[in-house]
Symmetry: C2
Subunit: 300 residues, 2 copies
């Protein structure tokens, strides 16, 4: 089986590849060789490890990659494109030097915003994937995760965006702060998360004020780890929703992410009257990479 | 030299001891044998390492200790006293079993508050130290540090208190989050900290909204590590000041801590019209331990 081209989602911790025939994925593989653990000369071998048997005996295989692979400390720096702009322009992709002449690699650039200073790498491809099926969308996309991106879209372009470190903060606080003693690795209780999010959206000081009480509540009142973890998760998300209100208030908003996490964002927004709905974003990176491939075919 | 008694400040990371003659410290020593690194049978040897040559050939030496040494996972659990109450009651000290019969050890209990749930261990002794020289104080004490304590005092008692994890959050974010790549171990710039604190006090969402822009500012605009670290420090402190406003608004407030850190709290509070001043708290633990010693002498 030889694909037409290969799609690559290369983040900090994971590498995912798809063997593509036109817009159709015929096979996919992944490894833990994210860019975070690779030095510059480790990228090509890490890629070949997954795709070597997809390559032709001769000729060149188009490979389109997005994500942190294009960071300054990645395989080759794909300089940010400044918003406002379309999420993708594959003609501005960077082509790293390769040893294996069969590889024709393009790394898609991320987006930057000068003020407030912000950057993204990888999410722009998910955004392009969303717009491929809803090109007239006018509103906000919210992409929760380690770093949640709020993205204002109009006329097919990214007008502005803002990053919140909510997922990373949850991980740091629950695993490395004194609260780790009370939260352990507990699975956050969904009800506690929902009420925490509602409370923190209503009171912007709630998250900061209540953090340590999760520890004290465990010491004094046997607050269960699942409850404490849920409350923490909700408080942080609610605080983010309060800070990001301009992105979703009176704007159609689509929350793109894993269902349970997206629901934690959706419920308090809808309670506050927002026109918010969620969708699973698992396929959007591939849809965006496919859009990039098609654009390269059309205007070679 | 044989002291009358020995004062001990035993926190999570440090052990400090003073040889006392009445209220006067004639010698002091310290080690890194904080309670965090000790198992239950490690406390007595760690203490003897510092004080063995202060002990008499026969007879018992009073030792008064405060801090995390009295936690559930410390030498012996000194159960919290519930506020409202005086900061110290040495008659409720716990006396751990000892092997060396010359040791007569008392561990002072910390304070707890049921709702909102909160606890302290060690700060109650600093508070008692402050009240020893200002017994009629009516207002708020603010003790910044890894965990900042805001404490409402009236009629010689702790009426209520609240803990903020601001120092720990600064440490986690600057050393372990993605911002570490932009902040390194830089010394926070004082001017950037002051303006960050003012901005976050004025806008409760500023801290959360600006976190990631410290990383992006470094990538896009060469934001200097000292500026980014200062801004982060100020944003977190300003957010704390906003959340703790009820403690300092229209209340006489004394900020007890290292001069530079205390100034970061004092300046925005005074700008907001607060009656706030700061004092160096280096001697307050010892003053509190001395007050406990005197109380035990008076009412044996």
């Amino acid at each position: 089986m030889t694909p037409d081209w290969i799609a690559v989602d290369w983040g900090t911790t994971r590498l995912r590849v798809w063997a593509m025939q036109g817009p159709k994925a015929v096979q996919s593989r992944n490894s833990d060789k994210g860019m975070g653990g690779l030095s510059r000369d480790g990228f090509e071998p890490a890629l070949l490890e997954l795709i070597a048997d997809w390559l032709p005996a001769s000729g060149r295989m188009p490979v389109i990659a997005c994500g942190m692979v294009g960071a300054r400390t990645g395989w080759a720096e794909a300089e940010y494109r400044a918003v406002p702009c379309t999420p993708l322009d594959p003609h501005q992709a960077i082509r790293p030097a390769v040893r294996d002449a069969r590889l024709d690699v393009r790394i898609l650039p991320g987006l930057s915003q000068s003020a407030p200073a912000d950057v993204m790498r990888g999410e722009e491809t998910q955004i392009a994937g969303y717009l491929a099926s809803d090109p007239g969308f006018d509103g906000t996309l919210c992409l929760p995760g380690t770093h949640c991106k709020w993205v204002r879209i109009a006329r097919g372009r990214v007008e502005a965006f803002q990053t919140y470190m909510t997922g990373e903060m949850f991980s740091l606080i629950s695993r490395q702060s004194v609260l780790r003693l009370s939260l352990g690795g507990a699975v956050p209780d969904a009800g506690a998360a929902a009420s925490g999010a509602a409370d923190a959206l209503a009171d912007p000081h709630a998250a900061q004020r209540e953090l340590f009480s999760l520890r004290a509540g465990a010491l004094l009142h046997n607050l269960a780890p699942e409850q404490a973890a849920g409350r923490l998760s909700g408080l942080l998300i609610g605080a983010e929703l309060g800070a990001a209100r301009d992105f979703w208030h009176n704007r159609k908003t689509i929350i793109i992410g894993a269902p349970e996490l997206a629901a934690l964002y959706e419920t308090p927004m809808r309670t506050a009257g927002a026109d918010a709905r969620r969708m699973d974003g698992a396929q959007l990176v591939l849809a965006g990479l496919t859009a990039a491939h098609l654009a390269l075919q059309e205007k070679p």
